[in-house]
């Protein structure tokens, strides 16, 4: 059985849904971050898949974009973790239910 685009899309959709569920249901800020990373990973899989199954997959393009996305995700995670630490220092908690100061 050769893997088709469909398989990849199903996997990535599942991964996205798991990530979304994690981001929405967990209370701990770090878990939410992990959920978001998972959703990003799902998007990366999509990129690769669409590249691989496009009519003329020229070598570097799809991979390059995905690598960029991963790099940006890493940077984002770094910023996110720094924010979490800053929030923790300020509120002495990382429970997002108690952090509601962003409301207008």
């Amino acid at each position: 059985m050769t893997p088709t685009l469909q398989h990849f899309l199903i996997i990535s959709a599942a991964l996205f849904c798991i990530g979304l569920l994690a981001a929405l249901s967990r209370r701990h800020a770090i878990f939410i971050l992990i959920g978001i990373e998972m959703m990003l990973a799902a998007a990366g899989i999509n990129f690769i898949a669409f590249w691989r199954f496009s009519p003329q997959p020229t070598p570097p393009t799809g991979v390059m974009i995905t690598i960029f996305a991963i790099a940006i995700a890493a940077a984002e995670a770094a910023v996110g973790l720094a924010l979490v630490i800053a929030v923790y220092r300020h509120y002495r908690t990382t429970n997002v239910d108690q952090i509601d100061q962003l409301k207008g």
């Binding site: 979304l20 981001a23 929405l24 249901s25 939410i32 997002v96 239910d97 952090i99 509601d100 100061q101 962003l102 409301k103 207008g104």
Partner: protein
Amino acid sequence: MSNWIVVHLWLIPAIPLAMALVILSLSSARRKGAAMLAIAGQVAALLLSLTAFWSTLGTPGYRLFHNFTWFTFGEQTLRLGFVLDPLAAVMLLMITFVSLWIFVFSVGYMAEDKNFTRFFAYLSFFSAAMLGVVIANSLLLLFVCWELVGLASYLLIGFWIHKPSAAAAAKKAFITTRIGDIGFFLGLLWLYGRGGTLLFYDGGTGALENTGLLSLGISATFIALLIFCGAVGKSGQFPLHVWLPDAMEGPTPVSALIHAATMVAAGVFLVARVYPIFAVNAINGVTASLTVVVWIGVITALISALIALAQWDIKRILAYSTVSQLGLMMVSLGVGGVSAGILHLLAHGFFKALLFLGSGSVIHGCHEEQDIRRMGGLRGVMPLTFITYAIGMMALSGVPLFFAGAWTKEEILHATSLWSVSRIPHYLMLAGVVLTALYMTRQMIYVFFGARRAAAEHAHESPPVMKLPLIVLAICVILLSIVLTPAWPWLHDYLLGERPAVNLSLLIQPMLFVSLALVAAGIGLGILIYRRATIVDPMERAIPPLFRFLENRMWLDELYDWTILALARFAARLSDFLDRYFWDSLVRLCGGTGQLFGVLTKGLDERGINAGVNDATGLTRGLSRFISARHSGQVQVYLSVIAVSMLALLLLYAWLT
């Protein structure tokens, strides 16, 4: 030679004018210098006048003029000029000569005055302006000099400026004459508009020459009457004569200069100068304008002669006598006796100057006393003044044969008797002769005869510098009679441009006897009445109301005060009131209306427009408050909203495709 003098005629007024300016810039300590300069200026003017006179002698009807362009306006030019004819020549001579002696007299009379130099500056200026009037060949130039004469008289009458009465008299003189001048000005404008030129003589196209006169037509009468208004003001004719007696507030030489030789003569001169305009469309020598001149003259002559009978101020009597004589001259001009009028003007210039200077000598001798009730018996103390004064008095009264005034007066009476309109002026003028002799006799008796009263106690004769002019003028009055007699009417023919001829038979005329009788009656009556006069006038004792009436100058001043002046003052106050309250409140009403509108708009704004806006903002605010409450700050709520909306978008996309 003759041409030179015509071209340089302007020098005659220019020299005294220059002297006036120089004297004005001198310090007031340079008294002698000032007097010398002024007199030198007069001498120079006199010499030039003599030259001018000499050049006119050769040809009868001599008339030369010199016109020049004053300025151009738009594309038009305005020209002025000087004219030399017998009329101008004799006037020049008379004015410069009489002025010269008045100047000399002033050196003595004003010796103690603080503003001695200024006085001579004013005198010179006055003489310059007057000479300008005489030589002007343009009504405009004449008007210009005429106004300057008015200014000079204003300055001179108000010379003792610290005296409120002098200042008031000066103002009165200027304004009263200006009333007449406004008429003169309008007449001038009318003439200019109709004739297109103001030059008197311009080689056939002047205003007084045939073509100019023809273009006037019916308006000539009005123009003449308007110009006559100026003469009425300046020559103190009824009803504008009121300023003249008040003008006696000035120093006596001023009175002599203004009332004898010059300023008051200007009016008569003016009428004589523009006589052709008065005579346009004449029927038998009579025109409407000339008739008006006659009647104004008659009224003036009689009224002022009557008033003179009841005055106590020595100079005021002379002033009223001047007014009366000027009236006589006007009558003469009106009835057609132009040369007679001018001759009387000349003679009057001499003898009235003599009388005024004589009265000045009396006043000076009596330590500035002017009330004749406080004089008396001065004949012994001031013999020379007495003799010269008597000569002047006889000339004025018209005692025949040896005095200049008599011949001219006789000629005027003769002219009035020939007037075709009415004989009344003639008879009234005869009565005037009696009155003149009467009031002069009264004055003589009060001043020089009888007992010495208060002011005469310490009287003294005047210094030689004041005596000399008296003597010179007295001699002139007598000498002048030689060229005025009907037997050898030299001056008369000279003025008319005829060759003089000697005709001794003309010496004895019926009019001579008539006037002799009248003068004798006047003087005799005067002696009879006033022989034993005390400080209460005989007439006052006999008919008190009449005397009061005349003494108060027929209450004419009061009448003007209560009517015209009161009206004018009321108008002034009314204008001010209107301005402050009526026009301004109109403006304020406009402003107020604007303000009211503003208040209304404000109300509408607040209650109407603003309310709507308020509601709209309130709604917006409520809505925003509602939405803002939906923001819990829960990150996961936001995330779920995002997720749900994304899902919804996906579904929408799927549904659409």
